[in-house]
């Protein structure tokens, strides 16, 4: 039996919390404090750090409220992953600890740091405002309070899961693209936008969608699925992001964003050749001028190393392409009928 298995089976033991500390009024840079306390199995990380604050170091600062996984206040990075302290068992984290017996606690990433484990949520709220993430009623004001606004079960199911979001910002903290550019819309905001856009009571769908396809919007997501993997409520966030993209292509076409043109190219190429024609993908996505400016130096290197993708005429179609094309078109007619049915309802 390994040491870690022995630890895991113990009912009571010393646990060290290695906590990120920073007080901008006195510290020039962040540091870690170790707090070792004796704990029993069944204790959550939040109860442990509450104990530390009450009995060991009252200066330790963090946010927490409901202690039941509902309010979303106590999200923090525990052993390198953002999650709620109140729903995380110390014993589960001991199993994942890189250094035996030591649990690392840090503030969320991708949001401005205020003190110790507390981050500024204003940028997230600001983006919620920027993308108009509230229901603006379709019903004329004169009817308010007089008429009911009925939502069918089917309509509700479209955003049921998205309403589970408690705005804890764990996904925001783990987002790859937000880390690379702070203007990026972020997963929690996209999830909320999706939820609003599929709500039959809302009237701002078109404006919201027009905002979402701009720079730093929905097309900048790099499909890393970290948001979804992090979500403390197991919400399939990528389904929402893909839902917005599907809607954007359907309603706005591919004219206004490189992301949509890039995605649509896959569809064209599969129908035509059964495979992707990579050589012209940059041009079809961003135009010739962009491609020359951005990719020419690299293209030269690639030519030297003989790793340039073949020009379109030299991309051999998949064997059996005729059958594939026929099937592809047949599915296109199915999709057309689905649309007719949907718009007829």
């Amino acid at each position: 039996m390994s040491d870690s298995t022995i630890q895991h089976h113990e009912e009571r033991r010393d646990v060290t919390f290695r906590v990120h500390r920073f007080n901008p009024q006195v510290d020039s840079k962040p540091y870690f404090d170790d707090y070792t306390i004796k704990l029993e199995r069944g204790i959550t990380v939040l109860r442990a750090i509450n104990y530390i604050k009450e009995h060991v170091d009252s200066t330790l600062t963090f946010r927490a409220f409901c202690q039941a996984g509902i309010c979303g206040s106590c999200a923090m990075r525990i052993n390198n992953m953002s999650k709620l302290a109140c729903t995380t068992q110390v014993w589960d984290e001991l199993e994942k600890a890189r250094e035996p017996g030591v649990i690392k606690i840090e503030p969320l990433r991708n949001l401005p740091h205020i003190k110790d484990l507390v981050v500024e949520m204003d940028p997230l709220v600001g983006k919620m405002q920027k993308y108009s993430n509230w229901v603006d009623s379709k019903m004329p004001e004169s009817n308010w309070g007089k008429k009911e606004f009925l939502v069918s079960e089917e309509e509700f199911l479209a955003y049921d899961k998205a309403t589970d979001c408690i705005l804890c910002a764990s996904c925001v903290s783990e987002c790859t693209i937000l880390r690379a550019h702070k203007e990026y819309v972020s997963p929690a905001v996209l999830l909320k936008s999706y939820r609003m856009n599929v709500d039959s009571r809302d009237s701002m769908h078109d404006k919201r969608l027009a905002d979402l396809v701009q720079d730093h919007g929905v097309w900048d997501c790099t499909h890393c699925y970290r948001c979804q993997e992090t979500c403390v409520k197991n919400i399939p966030i990528m389904d929402a992001i893909h839902g917005i993209r599907e809607d954007a292509i359907e309603r706005r076409g591919t004219k206004d964003t490189s992301g949509a043109r890039h995605a649509e190219a896959f569809m064209e190429d599969i129908e035509k050749k059964g495979k992707l024609v990579e050589a012209t993908l940059p041009i079809r996505t961003n135009g010739l001028a962009w491609t020359m400016k951005n990719l020419l130096p690299m293209a030269v290197k690639m030519v030297i190393k003989r790793r340039t993708p073949p020009p379109p005429p030299l991309v051999k179609a998949s064997k059996g392409i005729d059958a594939l094309r026929k099937e592809f078109r047949e599915m296109t007619s199915h999709v057309g009928k689905d649309h007719e049915k949907k718009s007829g309802e």
Binding site: D220, C224, H262, M298
Partner: protein, 283 residues
């Protein structure tokens, strides 16, 4: 000799030809054979699923049906193809309506999606079918003294509901293989993070920042090279390496090898044979 239906990823037929070339070199040494699927089609590269969910199910249902007709598991060596085809499989397995609609079309070509073939990554085949003990015995040129930064890439790990092989937070499969080949895999935070590939043409600045951080961390950890099981990650980390580092004011360089190449190196093939010299950043 165990046979597999080998799905030919678009990128491996154009920019990263060395992947398939190296697999062809060593496959029989490990008593496996990758039978190329000439009739398969592009999986949609994690884009077709939202451009048209039904075409996505059709194309990938067809890809899997071709493997099923041969009675073989479908094996890929590109993470995004893996995730994309597996998520189509999940949708088809979960919805009888979708399956029937796809099969109604496929039947005319004599194909049927039944859900009998598994969709697997080459890395998983090496670990689960060939086995690390056998691989250890076959190693002729152990990668000893080589400090390797394993870079898993996203789509072999996430979404875990579709992949489910490795722990997406603490993956071990690639580390185990690299160590079986005699190398030393080193821990670093970026091993399960993103390379930025999927936004390269849409948000290049962001993508290159993502790549630069991974490269920087591997270099700071004093790795001799990065090894990835995904040709898309390779394209960013190798092909765009200079540009990514420059954009972020970073210096240095680090070779990036394909999984299939390090297997080949350990089995005694030369860099030239495996195509390592064709990389942008050469060793």
């Amino acid at each position: 000799m165990k046979r597999y239906a080998y799905y030919q990823s678009c990128i491996n037929e154009s920019m990263t030809k060395e992947v398939d070339r190296s697999i062809e070199l060593w496959q029989h040494d490990l008593d496996i054979e990758m039978v190329k699927m000439h009739e398969s089609a592009c999986c949609g590269g994690s884009n077709l699923d939202y451009v048209s969910p039904k075409h996505f199910a059709l194309v990938n249902g067809r890809n899997i049906a071709i493997a099923e007709k041969q009675g073989l598991d479908l094996v890929v060596s590109c993470n995004t193809c893996l995730m994309t085809i597996r998520s189509a499989k999940k949708k088809l397995d979960e919805s009888a309506d979708l399956r029937n609609e796809v099969n109604e079309i496929l039947r005319k070509e004599g194909l049927e999606y039944r859900g009998t073939s598994q969709v697997r990554h080459l890395l998983w085949v090496l670990i689960d079918d060939v086995g690390l003990d056998v691989i250890r015995k076959k190693v002729k040129n152990p990668l000893s003294k080589m400090r390797i930064a394993p870079f898993y890439g996203c789509h072999i790990l996430r979404p875990s509901t579709v992949l489910g092989k490795d722990n997406p937070l603490e993956p071990t499969s690639l580390d185990l293989l690299l160590n079986a080949l005699g190398g030393k895999s080193i821990p670093y935070e970026h091993k399960n993070r993103c390379c930025g590939f999927h936004t390269l043409l849409v948000a290049e600045e962001e993508s290159l920042n993502v790549a630069a951080e991974a490269l920087q961390e591997a270099m700071e950890a004093k790795a001799d090279c990065i090894v990835t099981p995904c040709p898309l990650c390779h394209t960013v980390l190798d092909g765009y390496q200079g540009k990514a580092l420059k954009q972020n004011g970073l210096k240095g360089s680090i070779p990036v090898l394909h999984l299939s190449e390090v297997v080949g190196l350990a089995l005694g093939y030369s860099e030239r044979q495996l195509g390592v010299k064709r990389h942008i950043v050469t060793v």
